[in-house]
Symmetry: C2
């Protein structure tokens, strides 16, 4: 079974969102509907769906429930994925409060911070613990997954510490590139980069900011 490419995963997740929210009261959905909502080619939608092993019905499209479940299965939404958040600032707090995570199996165990004013607090039922506890937490709970949500300037130092404590995987929400040993993995969640992808080309007038956008999804 070939591993799905990033692009396919991104699109499948969006198809799932469509089934979950946009076309919630339809029990059938066609590749044309999905393609139109996202500005894609309809045959591409069909090929993506075929990768999930779902068969459609001629003249009727796909069964929404079946497709939704198949995507969840294929992408592993129902499997629990435990994570620590490092950084209990605005971003860490927002992530700890992000209720949608649990629909996708992402389980935030607790937050860690080195600010004494924050330690001991609870955010959405999750404790804020001192960063020094990381090592014992990692060994006790056996979860080596970190969401990094600290200020950019501290990102490298905190990463060095987390790696030393045994962190194996870092989902980096800071706009930095980290130096890490080969056995550790980083995934860059770079909001700025996303923004720039839509902004595309330097333009002059401050009010027409988005005027030279790439039409990523939505409309041709």
């Amino acid at each position: 079974m070939p591993v799905l490419s990033d692009k396919v995963i991104h699109r499948l997740t969006l198809y799932h969102c469509i089934l979950k929210y946009t076309l919630i009261n339809q029990d059938r959905v066609s590749s044309f509907e999905i393609a139109n909502l996202l500005g894609l080619d309809n045959s591409q939608v069909r090929k993506d769906i075929a990768l999930c092993g779902v068969l459609g019905h001629k003249k009727q499209g796909y069964n929404s429930t079946e497709l939704k479940l198949a995507i969840e299965q294929k992408l592993g939404f129902k499997e629990t994925k435990e994570v620590f958040i490092i950084g209990a600032g605005h971003l860490g707090t927002a992530l700890a409060n992000y209720t949608d995570f649990k629909d996708y199996g992402i389980d935030i165990l607790c937050l860690l911070d080195n600010n004494p004013n924050k330690i001991g607090k609870e955010i959405n039922g999750k404790k804020v613990l001192p960063l020094e506890d990381l090592q014992s937490l990692i060994s006790r709970v056996n979860t080596k997954n970190i969401i990094l949500a600290v200020p950019a300037k501290q990102a490298q130092a905190v990463t060095d510490y987390a790696v030393q404590c045994g962190a194996q995987f870092i989902w980096n929400f800071t706009p930095t590139v980290l130096k890490i040993p080969k056995n550790v993995m980083v995934y860059y969640e770079n909001i700025i980069s996303s923004f720039m992808q839509m902004y595309k080309e330097p333009i002059n007038h401050k009010h027409t900011i988005f005027s030279r956008l790439k039409i990523m999804k939505g409309h041709k």
Copy 2:
């Protein structure tokens, strides 16, 4: 001048982050260093850089300052881009507090919400105004760019209202796909999709969550 592809923009933004934080005290940088930090092919780095019009020096690499400025220029970091945030919940608050935005020219004018408890407050010096003010704000300030940071269930209704008020561009932070008229553009900032891109394949043990990861960036 061809428009840069998303992938190139994403990589250039990461190169910029490297110059800004990771290799801050080096005044020269080679394509090999950048490629190693990000797990890329070094010739790809050189081709990306060539798109910014920067010439390197044989045996020495690129001038860091020159490269950094060229990326900023090419991607338009220094141009002001004004935006309204709709939704003053945890996510909207985090975005309003995201100090890095201003380094990239993103200027948040104010937040809008329909919760009376939130209206009138200030978040990082930005006022929270009633959602009903959107129409007059858009026409007064002539900025038609919206960051959508409301709960998923309200995303479509709020979008419909924003579009009616004249919104032209929506940076959608909710995990939903929106129905919008052809003249409006949406860019999906789907955190879940990013997560799933790194998570790749369904696996069984909850603690080994990230074990089948795609090594997106960082290491080969």
